[in-house]
């Protein structure tokens, strides 16, 4: 069958989704931990998918997204390299074509995407501060010794959620400790934390945005029923969590790759051997000017696949020309 691969490499997870020509997931989507090693995670994911494919299965298009989209794009030979906003919006619209708001909360970042008539009309991403994202929930679940998968269900048992200062996670944590020492029950505290995070999200990322239903909630944090309930309470509207909520970026990238290659035949996919190829990555400091850019170089055996990180573009060459430049350097 003709298949389309979507890859989303984020700070926390590396996700792969394989779609059939109709845009439906062909294999179970993969959600792997990046663990600081995007190349290894990508290769692991590709190997898992390769082993599940049948004889007639052929990859006809590849799309990448996420903060390592450029890196992933070079390694696999992507047809589309797209930012996360566009990828998430495409996937949400596929699930719910009439969607008007997409809430996406991942490990280190959060976004809001406002859609009207199937088009992105506004968006925002969190700025330097990662308060109120998945990592903080993870950290608090660990502190309270509750498995993260049970965290959300616990919030559902709350009678009167306590009010927790959600503006900054440092304050939130000390507030939680305080409330717990006062004798509030764990479910009330957990539900209170969810409400504080939702408040924080709506005040920062969602500030001055027209949040209108239908609302889609995706990203890893959407697994948390407590967060979903808190959003529904704050927005007074139903919040839809799609089935593949945690791999929507990869899903969107695959859809984009499908559209692109169906329009322009032929894929740049470098084949499954990518999962076993040895890649070398290194970085060096360019000495040509006082900017001292840290240049990253990705090599496959002796061939330079890509370099980036330089402001002026002098290293943005590939092939033999680049090798010479490095030797001279």
């Amino acid at each position: 069958m003709e298949l389309y691969l979507g890859i989303d490499i984020g700070s926390v997870s590396t996700n792969l989704v394989m779609l059939d020509p109709l845009g439906e997931p062909y294999l179970a989507p993969l959600y792997l931990r990046t663990q600081g090693q995007p190349i290894a995670a990508l290769q692991r994911g590709l190997a898992i998918i390769r082993d599940q494919l049948g004889k007639g299965d052929l990859v006809c298009g590849v799309g990448t997204t996420g903060s390592a989209r450029q890196l992933a794009g070079v390694l696999v030979g992507a047809d589309v390299v797209k930012n996360e906003i566009s990828a998430h919006a495409v996937a949400a619209l596929r699930i719910l074509p009439e969607a008007r708001t997409v809430i996406e909360i991942g490990g280190q970042d959060s976004k809001i995407i406002i859609l009207r008539d199937g088009i992105v009309v506004d968006f925002a991403m969190n700025t330097v501060c990662a308060a109120g994202t998945g990592s903080f929930l993870d950290q608090q679940a660990f502190r309270l010794n509750i498995p993260i998968d049970e965290f959300g269900a616990l919030a559902g048992q709350a009678c009167t959620p306590v009010r927790i200062a959600g503006r900054c996670t440092v304050f939130a944590e000390s507030d939680m400790v305080h409330k717990q020492q006062m004798g509030h029950t764990l479910p009330d505290i957990v539900a209170g934390l969810c409400e504080a995070m939702v408040r924080n999200y709506l005040n920062n990322v969602g500030k001055s945005k027209d949040v209108a239903p239908p609302i889609v909630f995706q990203g890893g944090v959407a697994a948390n029923q407590g967060m979903r309930a808190a959003f529904e309470k704050a927005l007074q509207a139903e919040v839809v969590v799609p089935r593949y909520y945690n791999v929507m970026g990869a899903y969107g990238a695959a859809l984009l790759a499908r559209d692109q290659t169906q329009r322009r035949a032929g894929t740049g996919f470098r084949g499954w051997q990518v999962s076993t190829m040895p890649f070398q990555q290194r970085s060096f400091e360019c000495k040509a000017c006082p900017n001292a850019c840290e240049v990253i170089e990705i090599k496959q055996e002796r061939e330079v696949l890509a370099r980036w990180g330089d402001r002026c573009g002098r290293w943005g060459v590939t092939g033999a020309e680049a090798d010479q430049a490095v030797q001279q350097h």
Binding site: S67, K82, N83, E84, I85, S86, D117, G118, I119, V120, V121, D122, F123, M125, T127, V128, S208, C289, P290, N291, A292, C293, R311
Partner: protein, 328 residues
């Protein structure tokens, strides 16, 4: 020959032609610090107080790049350049901040610039500067005239569509030359208004080549410099309360003019982290742009972190959005 150092930072971007012409005419050699690079930024970060904003920290870096090689350093105490409106309070304190933090500073030319009561003018300010250099009265008068001619030529060039760096580096040429028409917008090309302090958007290092990146994404970029002072005053005057930040007023007035022109697909506002006036002006802008005309608006915050990935993601998503809106 006396060497006068001018840091390539902050109001250099607004007044360099004035200052350069004045000191050159006075017989001094004008030395400008190099374009911002990592070493300059790092030096500034180490030297400035942590509480200040990124542009002020960068100013420290540019000052350090000049100390030791100039006889005087031009750091006017900028309070106000027009009646009833002010420059940022941090600008006012620059000479004091520098003296408190940097040892072996060359003598500062720190004449106060305060036109808030409607009395002062550049001629008085320049004359005081000239007297510091012990110039005679006739020479000072003549230098003032050249300085003001250079500055008005600069303003004229900006309003004719030359981008600020072109007008500063002399690419704009002689008086009266029109800027060659920009390439005509092909299909899918975008018109983007880029707003932000000149010292942020035109500093290629801290803006991470924002203008070049936007152009490479197929956008035509317009900045507030295109809009004349009269239009800015008129447009900003439509706010229910008078804005008393000169630089904030420029951005709001320009944004409103761009909105009214109906020619722009989107507005990008660049703000530096920790900027007091901008925390208010940015919010005002976002709300009024939405209310007056629903042009997509994006706020970009820049800070010390040099990773361009976050910036690129936002720019890509924004231009993607604008292109799709156009098609849809």
């Amino acid at each position: 020959m006396i060497k006068v150092g001018i840091p390539r930072s902050l109001l250099y971007y607004s007044y360099f032609p004035l200052w350069r012409a004045f000191f050159t005419e006075m017989g001094a050699e004008v030395v400008v610090s190099p374009e911002t690079n990592k070493a300059i930024l790092d030096a500034g970060l180490r030297s400035a107080l942590d509480e200040t904003c990124l542009p002020v920290k960068l100013f420290f870096g540019h000052v350090l790049a000049l100390t030791g090689s100039v006889d005087y350093l031009l750091v006017p105490r900028l309070i106000s350049v027009e009646p009833k409106a002010y420059i940022c309070p941090k600008f006012m304190g620059l000479p004091d901040m520098l003296r408190a933090r940097i040892p072996n500073l060359p003598p500062l030319i720190d004449v106060a610039v305060d036109f808030s009561r409607g009395t002062g003018n550049w001629e008085n300010v320049l004359s005081s500067m000239g007297r510091l250099l012990a110039g005679d009265r006739r020479l000072i008068r003549q230098a003032c005239r050249s300085a003001q001619a250079a500055q008005s030529l600069f303003q004229e060039q900006l309003e004719k569509g030359w981008l600020l760096p072109e007008a500063l580096n002399g690419a704009a040429g002689e008086r009266g030359t029109e800027r060659p028409a920009p390439p005509s917008p092909g299909s899918g090309r975008l018109n983007i208004a880029l707003l932000g302090h000149d010292y942020n958007i035109y500093d290629e290092y801290i803006s991470m080549n924002l203008i070049k990146r936007l152009r490479s994404m197929g956008a035509r970029v317009a900045t507030a410099d295109l809009v004349s002072q009269a239009v800015i005053d008129e447009q900003a005057g439509t706010l229910p309360k008078k804005l008393f930040w000169t630089l904030g007023k420029k951005m709001i007035g320009a944004a409103f003019a761009f909105c009214d022109s109906g020619q722009f697909d989107g507005i990008i506002y660049v703000s530096s982290f920790g900027c007091g006036p901008e925390s208010l002006v940015g919010e005002l802008l976002a709300r009024w742009v939405k209310r007056r005309r629903g042009i997509p608006f994006m706020l970009l915050t820049i800070d010390e972190h040099s990773g361009a990935a976050g910036l690129v993601t936002r720019l890509e998503a924004f231009t993607d959005m604008l292109l799709r809106r156009e098609k849809g």
